[in-house]
Amino acid sequence: MIRFEEVRKSFGGTKALDGLDLVVPEGAFAVLLGGSGAGKSTALRTVNRLVEPDAGRVLLRGRDVASEPAPALRRRIGYVIQGIGLFPHWSVARNIGAVPRLLGWEERRIAARVEELLALLRLDPAAYRDRMPAELSGGQAQRVGVARALAANPDILLMDEPFGALDAITRQALQAEMARLHAATGKTILLVTHDVEEALSLATRLAVMADGRLLQEGAPRELLDAPADPRVRDLLDGGALGMRRLALVAASSLAALCGEAPADLPRVAATATGREALEAMLAARAEAVVLVDPGGAPAGLVALRDLLRA
C-alpha cells in the first residue's frame, strides 16, 4: 500500500504538488492520470525519493519512505521510465541483473532470474541475453526495462509514462503485457500517464490529478459514471464517453444465453469487451455477435440493444 499524506513540492516558484492525498491499495494497478504539469510524475518520484517532498510524507506499507537510506529503498521498488534508460554499455542480461547485483545476489541466482524474466516478458533468452541495448527495437528495449524493474522482485512497481515513446501497436502490445503481468504477479503498480485510453484499459484504480492535487480517485467506471469535478469529466469524456464505458464492460456480462448460435453472426472471444463486441457488429453489419469460448463453442449472444445496459 502506498499512502500520500499532504505531500507538497515546489520547483522554484511553481507548485508541482500542492497537498496530495492519495491511497493506493495493495495489489492495485493504480494509474495517475492528468495533463502535463499536473504533478503526476513528481508524485510518482516522491515514492522512490528521486524527489524529496517539501512537506507531508509518503508511506509504503505504513512506513515513511524517508526512514531508510534512499538507495536501499529504491532497490525494493521497480522503476520504469519513458526514456527506458537501459545502461548502453551493458548487455541485456547485465541490465536486468543490475539491482540483484547491487543487492549482492550470487551470480548463478542472477543468471537464473534473468532467464526467468526474459521468458516472462516473451523475449527468447538465447537470442536476447547477450545483446547490447543499441541492438534492440524500442518495444524490446522497454520489455527489458520492465524486466530490469522486476528483477529483484520488488514490492511495488513505479512506471512513469512507460509506453509514451513507443508506436501505437507496440504500445498496445506492452499494455496488454502489463495487464497480464499484473494479474500474474499481483504486484502493486503505480503508473503515470496522460493517455486516457491507456489509463482506462490498465487501471483497477484511477486517480485524476490537476494542479498538484487529487481531483478524484476510484474504480475507472465510477469516475466515468460520476465525475466529481468538471475537469475529470472533460478529461475522461473527450467525445467518447459511451465507447469508453463499453470498453470497461465484459461482453459476457451483457450476453444472453443461446443454445444454437446463428451461423451468419460474427464471432468474438468470450473475454472480449463490450466495445470489441460492438466493433465486430459494426464491421460485419450485424445486429448481434456470438461469444465463443477458447474451444470455439458458443458461450452467449450479445445483441446491439444489450450494449445499452453497459
Partner: protein, 240 residues
C-alpha cells in the same frame, strides 16, 4: 589499422638507432660546425629521460584532470566548475616557458620546474575531456541508475565513467602528445630530455644539434600518438 598506427613507433625507434650513424651526413649538411653530431649524452638516454618526464607528469595530470572533471560535474558543484573554468583559462593563457621561468625561483633548476609546467599543461585537455564526456551521459540513464538504487559513487563508477571513458582516453592521448612536445622546453631549466640538444645547439650556434633534438622530439610525439591510438579501442567499454 593497428599496424598502421604502430608505424610512427617503428619510425621513432629507427631514428634512435640510425641518427648516431649519420655524423658524416650532418657534417655535409652543416659544414660550418665543428661537431655535427650531438654526443654529450646518447639519444637513447635522452629519450628515456624525456619519456620519464612525460610519464611522471601525465599521472598527476590524469588524476587532477579526471578528479576536477568529476567534481565539476557533480550536482551542486557550481563553485568547483567556476574554479576549474578559471584554471583552464589561466593555464591556457600562460606559455610553458613562462611557467618554467616562474617555477625556477620556487623549485630550482632541473626536472622539477619542467614537471610543474608539464602537469599544468597536460591537466587541461584531460579536465576538459572529462567534464565534457560526463556531461554527455544521457539523463534518462542517470535517472534509471539512481532509480535502481545505485549510490552516487556507484552511479559514477558503474555508469558515468565507463560511458565517458572513450572521450576521456582521447583527452589523455592529447595530453600525452602535448606533454612530449612541451617536455622539450624543460631543457631551458636544465631538465635532461630531447630538448637538451636543442638548447645546447642554440647556445653553441650548432644548428645540427637543434635539428637532431627537434627531429627526435617530433617523432616521439607521433609515436606516442600512434601507440595510444592503437591502445584506445581495446580499453573502450562502449559498444560500437
Amino acid at each position: 589499422m593497428r599496424a598502421a598506427a604502430l608505424l610512427p613507433v617503428l619510425l621513432f625507434a629507427a631514428a634512435l638507432v640510425v641518427l648516431p650513424m649519420l655524423a658524416p651526413t650532418f657534417g655535409a649538411l652543416f659544414p660550418q660546425v665543428a661537431e655535427p653530431l650531438y654526443r654529450r649524452e646518447g639519444f637513447g638516454a635522452l629519450a628515456l629521460s624525456h619519456a620519464g618526464l612525460v610519464v611522471a607528469s601525465l599521472l598527476p595530470a590524469a588524476a587532477i584532470g579526471i578528479g576536477l572533471g568529476v567534481a565539476a560535474t557533480r550536482p551542486g558543484a557550481r563553485e568547483v566548475r567556476a574554479v576549474a573554468d578559471a584554471l583552464v583559462g589561466f593555464a591556457q593563457a600562460v606559455p610553458p616557458v613562462a611557467v618554467i621561468a616562474i617555477a625556477v625561483p620556487a623549485v630550482g633548476f632541473g626536472a622539477a620546474p619542467a614537471l610543474l609546467a608539464l602537469v599544468c599543461y597536460a591537466t587541461l585537455p584531460v579536465l576538459r575531456a572529462t567534464a565534457g564526456a560526463l556531461a554527455t551521459v544521457p539523463p534518462e540513464v542517470l535517472d534509471a541508475a539512481r532509480g535502481a538504487g545505485m549510490t552516487p559513487r556507484q552511479v559514477l563508477v558503474l555508469v558515468e565513467l565507463p560511458l565517458a571513458a572513450p572521450p576521456i582516453l582521447a583527452g589523455l592521448r592529447v595530453a600525452a602528445v602535448l606533454a612530449v612536445a612541451t617536455a622539450a622546453v624543460g631543457a631551458v631549466a636544465g631538465a635532461t630530455c630531447l630538448g637538451t640538444p636543442i638548447i645546447a645547439g642554440l647556445v653553441n650556434g650548432n644548428p645540427a644539434w637543434v635539428v637532431q633534438g627537434a627531429l627526435l622530439t617530433g617523432l616521439m610525439a607521433f609515436a606516442v600518438d600512434g601507440l595510444l591510438g592503437a591502445l584506445a579501442p581495446r580499453v573502450s567499454a562502449s559498444p560500437p
